[in-house]
Symmetry: C2
Subunit: 431 residues, 2 copies
């Protein structure tokens, strides 16, 4: 990691230190993704099959997971992994359930009842990637809130393995969330199929889930296409910013930085501390731990350009974090809770030495689909309301119309909208 | 309006009847908007001034509204309009306040506390258009939730009038919402200035508000630009779908259809009824009322292609509405409340004969910035949470780590993420 001393940097250098690599999709990727989308849109299941053969190297007659395959998956997964999936699902449910948006009603004037009601999004499409490994945790993070929202027809796509099967842990997780329709389709062809529909795969109103640059570009394109689908959020490379003080165990901090770094060479990892010695100790610990990691080559690449920033005070550290707006923020501080009120923008925050990000990734209960690329300045992560539509309602009686009608007429006239005024006054005359 | 008999249409004709005109931005508009954005991004205030001279026909030395101008606006607005603005703001506050997302905390396991906390978006930019007329109501619909969210630095842009002043009613509405920084800048230049910042106008994290096709395209482009801004939602032409039964007063239904139609020639207006006679009576009433409307030419254009759909049953009518997902849905039914549970997708619903859409546009309390173009299948209108960031938090102690740590290790290993497992196990070893 690169060492930086914040107080010695001018504003340009500071901006540069926190600048994320531009997520510009190469023109040829854009064009290639567009062509693949079109291929599936017009070719349907045949195109999906052809692209699955081409990209996943497997020829599938039917892409939908059968009941027998679901049953076999339960057998194929170890009892301990099944128990972990179930326990994680339970905690994710508990947290998401408690935060659900509620319907409500208010009388804003006598005879004027205003309400908010909630409906599940009818057709949601969940994408569970399996790049370097399958991700049952992502199946839970998408499937649990979809279930709590009451989505009637959730559909999941996940890439097939070389033998033509779906990852059994992903199927166990899907089943735990009540998802019965899983398709062994990955990549751009999965996004296309769920956005436009094929004979086998239903068209969806909204698509969810992370993915590589191609999947992300495909989601972007279908979200803008006529007759396409809405999307949850653009997913950039994963990020962590750790603020550690002198008392933070260097071994823990190093492990947290590495767990982010192993995601991919483009992972964003930032360590900020007011203690020079802590930075030294973390650097040493990273070196020691790297040697033992299976994905050390990836982590090494990610860390090469990552900054360790020495600040004069923890106030400066928080200011840096608020400016950067990280996906994950770890406060490895002696009084982490006391600093929380100053956090203005982050996806998910981890307080103290015993709250590693990995717990949030899997099983604390919070969602791991979080805003990246600075989007945490404006938006939070997935939650049940991401799978719902909020509808407002007003029910006005004669008395209510008499109470607020003249106000509407006054404003409509000020805006030069005579028919608006008339829609009210014609009723005032009759009331 | 065109008469259609739903039972006689095949599925293609049905789809055609509900198809919205494609909102395709012409390539030359896209390019022109892009060039204007770039002009402001590089030229700052000078570019804003030049474009204001060009598009608004007024030369402004300084674009920010002064305290003296705010004071003068209070004088310039009639007492009755000031009272209407104040009363509308009060009801909008009452409704939005009651629906605010709340922070919460759940212990998902002993020693595992998960929370959601909320923060205002720091810099929000509100756009209040003034195409055919200024829109103080839009200033309220954006300003009230921004204030309730606690946004510390709200900024508003609205086009200058020919004499270089801002519309006084818009300023009165802005002041009512505590907005002190208003800029007399409109169109693409306003969106560019708020997205990228100039010496006078602060860069914003998220932009809100409706606008014409150019403003909408500008919002779309800055939302995708490196260093741009997030946006609330794409705004298409306004829409109403009215479901009326035999008992609906034709005069009211006609007035509601016309109040939507006067927005613009591209307004979407649909009437669905199970009663042939009602459709006849509404057609006659529209003819009578059109003659008296100031904006009758616009309304006439909008209505020319709008369908009146005869259905066999109200069940069919609701199904049509759910498929179309209108921005506004009026249930002009004898038992409107009983039909509400069947409504699956709509921006805002108006129940019964005494709840014209115009009340929701101005002062019932609900927000009038609503999803168009079918987006109501997946998203609701503006609310306080549109101006907030929800952040999740977890605080785990040793006991909590021991309780859920092994679950995370199991899942991390299943996903082949060794450093994730290690970030937990290194702590389990130490706990």
């Amino acid at each position: 990691m690169k060492r930086l001393q914040w107080s010695r940097l001018d504003s340009v250098a500071r901006r540069e230190a926190l600048r994320r690599p531009a997520q510009v999709t190469a023109e040829d990727t854009r064009v290639a993704v567009g062509a693949l989308l079109e291929q599936v849109r017009t070719g349907g299941d045949d195109a999906v099959r052809a692209l699955t053969a081409r990209f996943d190297g497997v020829d599938l007659e039917a892409v939908e997971v059968t009941g027998a395959e679901f049953a076999a998956a339960q057998e194929a997964v170890s009892a301990s992994l099944r128990a972990a999936i179930d326990a994680a699902a339970g905690r994710i449910e508990a947290f998401h359930l408690a935060g659900m948006t509620q319907p409500y009603a208010v009388d804003t004037a006598p005879g004027v009842r205003c309400e908010r009601i909630l409906r599940p999004i009818r057709r949601v499409g969940l994408y569970v990637p399996a790049g370097s490994a399958p991700l049952p945790s992502t199946a839970l993070m998408l499937g649990v809130p979809a279930r709590l929202a009451g989505c009637p027809e959730p559909v999941m796509c996940t890439p097939p393995r070389k033998d033509g099967s779906a990852d059994p842990a992903v199927l166990v997780a899907a089943a735990r969330c009540g998802i019965r329709r899983v398709f062994k389709v990955g990549g751009v062809q999965a996004i296309a199929a769920m956005a436009f529909g094929t004979a086998s795969i239903p068209a969806c109103d909204k698509l969810f889930g992370p993915g590589n640059a191609w999947v992300t570009e495909a989601k972007r394109q279908v979200s803008m296409a006529e007759g396409g689908a809405a999307i949850d959020m653009p997913a950039g490379p994963s990020e962590v910013l750790v603020i550690a003080d002198a008392g933070a165990p260097a071994e823990f901090v190093a492990a947290d930085l590495l767990s982010q770094a192993e995601h991919g060479p483009d992972s964003q990892v930032i360590l900020v501390s007011n203690d020079e010695d802590l930075l030294d100790r973390v650097a040493v610990a990273i070196g020691e731990q790297l040697a033992e990691l299976p994905r050390s080559a990836i982590a090494r690449q990610a860390l090469a350009d990552s900054p360790m920033i020495r600040v004069d005070s923890l106030e400066d550290a928080i200011a840096i974090s608020n400016e950067y707006a990280p996906e994950h923020l770890i406060l490895a501080l002696r009084d982490a809770r006391a600093w929380l009120p100053r956090v203005q923008a982050a996806g998910s925050v981890f307080l103290g030495d015993w709250s590693p990000e990995a717990l949030g990734d899997y099983c604390s209960g919070t969602n791991h689909v979080l805003p990246t690329g600075g989007a945490a300045r404006c938006t939070g992560g997935l939650n049940v309301s991401s799978f719902q539509v909020a509808i407002t309602v007003q029910e006005v009686d004669r008395r209510g119309l008499q109470a607020i009608g003249p106000c509407a007429v006054e404003l409509a006239n000020a805006e030069g909208l005579g028919a608006h005024a008339r829609a009210v006054s014609v009723r005032l005359d009759a009331a």
